[in-house]
């Protein structure tokens, strides 16, 4: 008589810990060939579309019909490393060491062309209409040298933003409000002491208020100081359905100063007028600018702007067009990670092995997010340098970006892909149907973005609203440019300016994913598998 030995599995008994659950989900993920192919395609598309846009976005200028095509020039770089606009009319003298300059401004007027552009190089202001721009500016300035982009601090009156103290391009502090006129003149004073420059303003020349203190690192002992005038290019973007069009051109500001007082050592005997301007600045020719001096009265006319550059500097986002292709792929995989289990009946095995369903969902979300984040990180970290290199080859200057911003864009884009995949997982768990879930997530993220950045489909207010509340807000994390209140610009999503701060936008997507996960968990526990 034979003895039946009961079957014993050779596997050792182990705890059903969360680590085992993670491992089983990772095994499921890595053994489905289609998903690995999908991941590879996603990464290739991110890199490939970045390379495609980089290689096909030429920028060039031709000075004459037969001259060779040159790469677009890079704007000057400011003391903080950022690109700046630095063109104005400077009436200057050297200031040796510490000292101060005080002046009264009695008028600020301007000229601009309603038809855009300007008449001719011989007579640029012909046919222009009187009118001062909101950020036309004139006042006193202390600047390291006459080279574009060097450190400076200035007190100024502006067209419609009152008295301001500005320094080193990005700093802007408000002083007295109201427009300047002969009836209500403005006194301005700059006081230099070493590297520190203090700005004061006054309405009567007797009672002074401190506006701001600027520290200009490395200001040479012999700085240039004096009067200036500048007026930024005027531009009106009319946005309509079917596209947006801009008209505009350079403008001129003219200011009248008197009652100048100086302290300290001013070795030169007279004032020198000089147009600070690069070949490609949006300003009137230097011939239209200038100054006159008579009986202690100075009239200074200038064109251009002293401000951070905000035109066409959103280069990083352009190299990341492939994010959308990657997004579609990761959402498809994220949804299938759960709907495939329902379709094959695998979900019943999964829940038999691990009856606590919430832990299964958590394990799936963690594995998915980790894989997508890693893949996204690699793809984006390759794409940005490659795209920038190709853009540079096709003549585009590449704006400087801080390491922190670069890291934020790379990690944020990878995080965006990871969270989008988790959102797909949650919606897939909710709907159990792959087609519906994928469409809901992709359309929910991509369509609002597309409608917001394509000018002429929706009114501007709706565009802003779309990139605030929909998951498309997360693309703010790719923004590498800043909104400066002291620069007039078309701050729209289409130009790369998102209404939310980068991480705030990312948080909107996370909130959507969190809500979907909570709903998915609730239904996963209540419904039969």
């Amino acid at each position: 008589m034979s003895v039946m030995t009961p079957y014993h599995s050779e596997l050792r008994v182990r705890r059903d810990g969360f680590a085992q659950l993670l491992r089983s989900e990772w095994t499921k993920f890595r053994t489905v060939r289609g998903w690995l192919i999908g991941m590879a395609i996603a990464m290739l598309l991110i890199v490939g579309l970045g390379a495609l846009t980089g290689a096909n976005s030429e920028c060039g200028i031709q000075l004459g019909p037969n001259s060779p095509r040159l790469a677009c020039p890079a704007p000057p770089t400011g003391p903080g490393g950022e690109w700046v606009t630095d063109s104005f009319y400077f009436v200057r003298q050297p200031l040796a060491g510490n000292g101060s300059i005080t002046v009264r401004v009695t008028s600020l007027t301007g000229l601009y062309s309603t038809s855009g552009g300007f008449a001719s190089d011989q007579n640029p202001t012909a046919g222009m209409t009187p009118g001062v721009q909101p950020w036309s500016k004139a006042g006193i300035i202390v600047k390291a040298s006459t080279r574009q982009g060097t450190a400076y601090a200035a007190m100024m009156v502006t067209g419609s933003h009152g008295v301001r103290m500005q320094w080193d391009f990005t700093h802007d502090v408000a002083g007295l409000t109201g427009k300047v006129s002969a009836a209500s003149p403005r006194w301005l004073r700059l006081n230099r002491s070493g590297d520190t420059i203090t700005g004061y303003d006054s309405a009567d020349g007797a009672h002074w208020t401190r506006v701001g203190i600027a520290t200009l690192a490395g200001l040479p002992t012999a700085a240039q100081a004096g009067l200036f005038a500048a007026s930024p290019g005027y531009s009106v973007t009319s946005r309509s359905f079917g596209g947006s069009s801009s008209t505009g051109g350079p403008t001129l500001a003219t200011a009248v100063f008197d009652q100048m007082g100086r302290q300290g050592t001013w070795p030169a005997s007279r004032w020198t007028g000089e147009g600070i301007q690069g070949a490609f600045d949006k300003a009137l020719p230097v011939s239209a600018q200038g100054f006159t001096q008579a009986a202690g009265r100075f009239t200074v006319s200038g064109s251009g702007d002293i401000a951070p550059a905000t035109d066409n500097i959103d280069v990083i986002r352009h190299t990341l067009a492939g994010t959308f292709a990657g997004l579609i792929a990761v959402v498809v995989i994220g949804v299938m990670f759960v709907t495939a289990e329902y379709r094959r009946g695998m979900i019943r095995t999964t829940f038999t092995a691990s009856p606590r369903r919430g832990r299964v969902l958590a394990a799936k979300a963690i594995v998915l997010a980790a894989v997508m984040f890693a893949a996204g990180l690699v793809a984006v970290a390759v794409t940005i340098p490659l795209g920038e290199h190709l853009l540079h080859e096709s003549g585009n200057p590449i704006p400087p970006v801080t390491a922190l911003t670069w890291l934020r864009v790379v990690a944020g884009t990878a995080g965006l892909l990871a969270v989008a995949a988790v959102l797909g997982l949650a919606v897939g768990t909710l709907l159990r149907r792959s087609a519906g879930a994928i469409t809901a997530v992709i359309v929910g993220i991509v369509l609002p973005y597309l409608l917001a950045v394509t000018p002429g489909i929706l009114p501007a207010g709706v565009e802003q609203w779309l990139v605030r509340v929909t998951p498309a807000a997360a693309f703010a994390v790719q923004q590498s440019i800043q909104h400066y209140p002291q620069v007039t610009q078309d701050y729209t999503p289409g130009n790369g300016y998102f209404p939310l701060a980068p991480w705030a936008g990312f948080a909107v997507l996370c909130a959507w994913a969190a809500v979907a996960l909570v709903l998915a968990l609730f239904l996963l526990r209540r419904r039969d598998a």
Binding site: G34, L49, L52, T53, N56, S57, E58, C59, S238, S240, F241, G242, G243, R317, H318, A321, F324, A325, I328, A329, V331, V332, V335, M336, T339, A340, R343, S394, R433, S434, A435, G436, I438, T439, I442, V443, V446, L447, Y449, L450, L451, V453, T454, I457, L458, P459, G461, V462, G494
Partner: protein, 258 residues
């Protein structure tokens, strides 16, 4: 062939999802169109908007729902194994696909007609309230104008062509998740890439090739000269994409085991 079409129609009609999806497509199209028309503000002589295009904005969303419906018509059969029964009953596989195309196309045309009619009616009323009136230099939106009629009828055709494109892709790749991913990528990637490419030639070519952007030229009633293609040529681009997808689907269906 009538029997095959009849069989497909019975399958489509008796699935609970179909009706809801078609209803959702029509409702979402009309709702988004109405919201877009309601958000317009047009002072006298102010904006240069295209009233027909605004009142048909909802197509952007409606097309996605139509795509889900068309994809599941065939990928649903693969996931349940129904396709083997279908092909056993009708061994002529191209006829099966043709019949599916006929019923999906007809259902989409019907739902699309309702959606577009509702959108244009709502658009006419709402745009008039927001300044798109003859006093401001616009004609009131009405299907009596040739270009508006072309935009409206063309939008219905656009939805039907999107359905055929989705059906063809789904027949080729079989899995609903992958199929819908491919369809949405075809629709959305062209405009996104063309929006960041600054080289004018490439920008234009991508627009001309894009099934969504070129296809939606049919909605334009103003500024036609600025378009890279005429409205009907644009719709032709989408038709070519749909034909290509259907051909690919037919070949896969014919030569691969189900």
């Amino acid at each position: 062939m009538t029997d095959v079409v009849h069989a497909e129609w019975t399958k489509l009609r008796t699935l609970p999802g179909t009706g809801w999806l078609l209803l959702a497509a029509a409702a979402l199209t009309a709702a988004v169109s109405a919201i877009a028309a309601n958000s317009v503000s047009c002072p006298a002589g102010g904006c240069q908007l295209d009233p027909a295009k605004v009142s048909l904005t909802g197509i952007y969303l409606g097309q996605a729902v139509v795509a889900i419906m068309a994809v599941t018509v065939i990928s649903g059969e693969y996931s349940t194994g129904m396709i083997r029964l279908t092909l056993a009953a009708t061994p002529g596989r191209w006829r099966v696909l043709a019949a599916k195309a006929a019923v999906v196309g007809a259902a989409t045309l019907a739902a699309g007609a309702v959606a577009v009619l509702a959108s244009v009616l709502a658009g006419g009323l709402l745009l008039a309230r927001h300044g798109v009136t003859s006093a401001h230099g616009y004609q009131a939106l009405s299907l009596g104008q040739g270009p508006v009629l072309r935009a409206a009828a063309g939008s219905v055709l656009y939805l039907a062509l999107i359905a055929l494109l989705s059906l063809g892709v789904a027949a080729a790749v079989r899995d609903s998740a992958v199929a819908i991913g491919v369809v949405l990528a075809l629709l959305f990637l062209f405009p996104i890439v063309s929006s960041v490419i600054t080289s004018p030639g490439w920008h234009r070519h991508l627009e001309q090739l894009s099934p969504m952007m070129a296809g939606l030229y049919i909605q334009a009633t103003t500024n036609l000269r600025s378009l890279p293609l005429t409205p009907w040529q644009g719709l032709g681009v989408l038709a070519a994409w749909a034909a290509g997808a259907m051909l690919a689907g037919a070949l896969v269906l014919r030569f691969r085991d189900a």
